[in-house]
């Protein structure tokens, strides 16, 4: 761990919904330039962790703290966290019929990166390049946000937003699920370009080691029933994929 201030620090986080505790004491530190991965079986609390970091209003934090660059996020609404640089690539991106992709991207960049950036010719160029690299056809600009997108198209569109919004902390919740092999490579390249050799960081939630082969995470954490029960290097991902999660219970 570097001596610098951590990018993200999660301390003994307990959170739940309607009185049911889902996260039961999460501790996690991500340093600048680092990529971490979270794995864990269905229902272990991965998406909940992402939602709580992003500020989903349905979840109550009972204990602990989430700190981005020395500042607690807990009192902030989701949109304020976004402006502080938190980005979430959703496991299930939401459709907004009638809201055009181009319009939405411009507005989002304006609110997070500022009006000037959204208006600059630089932005258009960046958008065109990013769309090309992600294999998103130009015609998507006139479509409605996630409306009728295929599973893989939704995931590519999430990454397009990540590239344009240039977050400090990018959380990717199963962005690799539903992507084809080329898609996984493109997304990994996007993540590497956005995080490696920068002050930003990423948290990649996944069930598969393939994406992690491309991004080579600094740490892999295993979430079990709302707690991180094991952390290790990239080799842990391969071990989990081979052996499943059953053996962890015994340890």
């Amino acid at each position: 761990m570097s001596e610098k201030m951590p990018l993200l620090e999660i301390n003994d986080l307990h959170a739940g919904i309607d009185g049911n505790e889902i996260l039961k004491g999460i501790n996690l530190i991500i340093g600048p330039g680092e990529i971490h991965a979270i794995m864990g079986r269905n229902g272990s609390g991965k998406t909940t962790t992402a939602n709580v970091i992003m500020g989903h209003p349905d979840f109550d934090v009972e204990k602990g703290d989430v700190i981005l660059e020395g500042e607690s996020l807990l009192e902030m609404e989701a949109w304020e966290r976004a402006r502080k640089g938190v980005f979430l690539s959703f496991q299930y991106p939401q459709a907004v019929p009638g809201l055009q992709v181009g319009n939405f991207l411009r507005k989002s960049v304006a609110s997070i990166r500022g009006e000037d950036e959204a208006k600059s010719s630089n932005f258009r160029e960046k958008l065109a390049n990013a769309m090309e690299s992600l294999d998103i056809p130009r015609s998507f600009m006139a479509r409605y946000v996630n409306d009728g997108f295929s599973g893989g198209e939704k995931k590519r569109f999430e990454i397009l937003q990540m590239i344009l919004l240039r977050p400090r902390l990018a959380i990717l919740d199963e962005t690799d699920s539903g992507l084809d092999i080329d898609g996984i490579r493109t997304v990994s390249e996007g993540v590497n370009a956005a995080i490696r050799d920068t002050d930003s960081g990423a948290l990649i939630i996944t069930h598969y080691s393939r994406i992690l082969e491309h991004v080579q995470p600094d740490r892999v954490h295993v979430l079990l029933d709302g707690r991180i029960v094991l952390s290790g290097g990239p080799e842990l991902a391969t071990k989990l994929e081979e052996r499943g999660y059953e053996w962890l219970k015994e340890e």
Binding site: W79, F90, Y92, A95, V96, G98, S108, S111, I112
Partner: protein, 470 residues
């Protein structure tokens, strides 16, 4: 209601709620009688036959009971004795904004009318209280024989045409409010587009009520001759008062063979205005009538733009949105009658209810036994923003010919927390996110509007979404 209006004004939600000092040149006392009806006709120096129609319509109005459907308890609140039926605020209609009285001109400037006129309109009429205070049309259109006048001038200058078509689409006995309008009508537009002429840029009418307890009863007649095209746009606003005003218009459209009439409305009355309007068009062979109807304001709106598909191969479209906030009821919809073969129709109705507002879709589509191969498509979508608001649909289809192809879809949805969270995670506040969802919901409607209107409507909805959460 009074409290509601004050609150609305205080938070600035309704942007057109200011009022000018009242400088009327003629103002009738409150209340309605045969004398009032005759006096309006007399003031305007109308031909006998018009006075006669007015008086007959008035008698019908007296006899005719209130509708026994819709929001009957709200209708009961209308106090016909406490309404001013005629108010003249400028001695004549001007064709130069500089000649319009200062207060009135300022009001229209604040509403952006002269600016819009210069940028993207073929002609404008501006009605203030009972009469048109400003009117103009582009010279080239006039040279092509396009007639675009206020209805009073239309009657004076083209009495034979008005006599032929007036009440031909909406007879005065159609309903209580068409009878009232026929009895006391004043202002509105008279338009005739000659054969083959395409009016490319829209013409606009703007209606402003300024006085308290005012009744505005404009009357519009549009005749599109063979193969012609016209797009008519209307807007309307009023000051926010604690007492009610009444707006009751009648619009008649005649689309002769091969012509195309599009009639777009953004109704943004303040929430003390009863808006009870009859709009109907007759479509002859291969003609097309479209109503693009946005109802954002008013206390109670009852309006069902309709089309009688009389000629073979004619087409009707009614695209409407309604927004109902606190204390509001939008009872809107569409009526289409397929009387001829190979006629097609499409109804798209979208409504949003918020803060206890109520939106109703009331639609009727009929196919007569002789009309073969008709196509009907009805879609109504409602979006409800909270637990206290309400939406109802009353769709009716009477199809008496088995060759008709009918499609009907209806949906009621709510804004989901997940949708809001998704947008908020992209840096948009809760209200901005909601406005994005709402504007997206209205998008199939707004894309039919001239761009300037679409932008205005989106801003209007964004304002309405302010303070709606939390």
């Amino acid at each position: 209601m009074a409290k509601n209006n004050d609150a609305r004004e205080a938070v600035g939600e309704y942007k057109a709620g200011w009022h000018d000092p009242e400088n009327s040149t003629i103002r009738f006392d409150f209340g309605l009688s045969e004398e009032v009806v005759r006096e309006i006709s007399n003031l305007k120096n109308e031909p006998e036959w018009m006075t006669e129609i007015r008086v007959r319509a008035f008698k019908h109005f007296l006899r005719r009971p209130m509708p026994t459907w819709g929001n009957m308890s709200m209708l009961e609140e209308i106090d016909f004795d406490n309404i001013c039926y005629f108010l003249r605020s400028s001695d004549s209609t001007k064709n130069n904004w500089d000649d319009v009285p200062d207060d009135i001109r300022n009001t229209f400037e604040r509403l952006g009318i002269p600016e819009a006129e210069q940028k993207w309109l073929s002609g404008v009429t501006a009605q203030y209280e009972s009469e048109t205070v400003y009117h103009s049309i582009r010279e080239d259109l006039e040279k092509q024989g396009v007639i675009f006048l206020d209805m009073d001038s239309g009657l004076r200058e083209h009495p034979e045409m008005v006599k032929k078509w007036f009440c031909s689409v909406v007879p005065f006995a159609d309903n209580k409010f068409s009878a009232l309008n026929t009895a006391v009508w004043s202002g509105g537009s008279f338009i005739y587009v000659p054969e083959g002429v395409h009016v490319e840029m829209p013409v606009q009418a703007y209606f402003r009520i300024n006085a308290k307890n005012m009744g505005q009863f404009e009357r519009t007649l549009i005749i599109a001759d063979k193969g012609s095209r016209i797009h008519y746009v209307e807007g309307c606003t009023a000051p926010s008062y604690s007492t009610d005003s009444l707006h009751s218009a009648v619009v008649e459209l005649i689309a002769l063979p091969g012509s195309h009439i599009r009639y777009s409305t953004i109704q943004n009355w303040s929430s003390n205005v009863f808006n009870l309007v009859t709009k109907r068009g007759i479509a002859h062979e291969k003609s097309k009538i479209e109503w693009v109807d946005g109802n954002i304001g008013s206390k109670l709106t009852m309006k069902y733009p309709s089309v009688i598909l009389k000629g073979e191969g004619s087409h009707a479209e009614v695209i409407s949105v309604a927004y109902s906030g606190e204390g509001q009821h939008q009872d809107a919809g569409a009526k289409i009658h397929h009387l001829a073969s190979n006629t097609t129709s499409k109804i798209l109705s979208k409504s949003i209810s918020k803060n206890g507002g109520r939106s109703s879709y009331r639609g009727m589509v009929t196919v007569s036994p002789k009309a073969d191969n008709c196509k009907l498509n009805v879609i109504c979508d409602a979006l409800i923003l909270d637990e206290v608001s309400r939406s109802d649909t009353y769709p009716t289809m009477e199809v008496a010919n088995s060759t008709a192809r009918c499609e009907h879809e209806a949906s009621v949805s709510k804004v989901s927390d997940e949708q809001l969270f998704y947008l908020m995670s992209r840096g948009h506040s809760e209200n901005e996110s909601l406005a994005m969802i709402v504007n997206g919901f209205f998008e199939p409607f707004t894309r039919e509007l001239p761009m300037e209107y679409a932008v205005e409507l989106n801003q209007l909805m964004a304002l309405e979404m302010e303070g709606s959460i939390g």
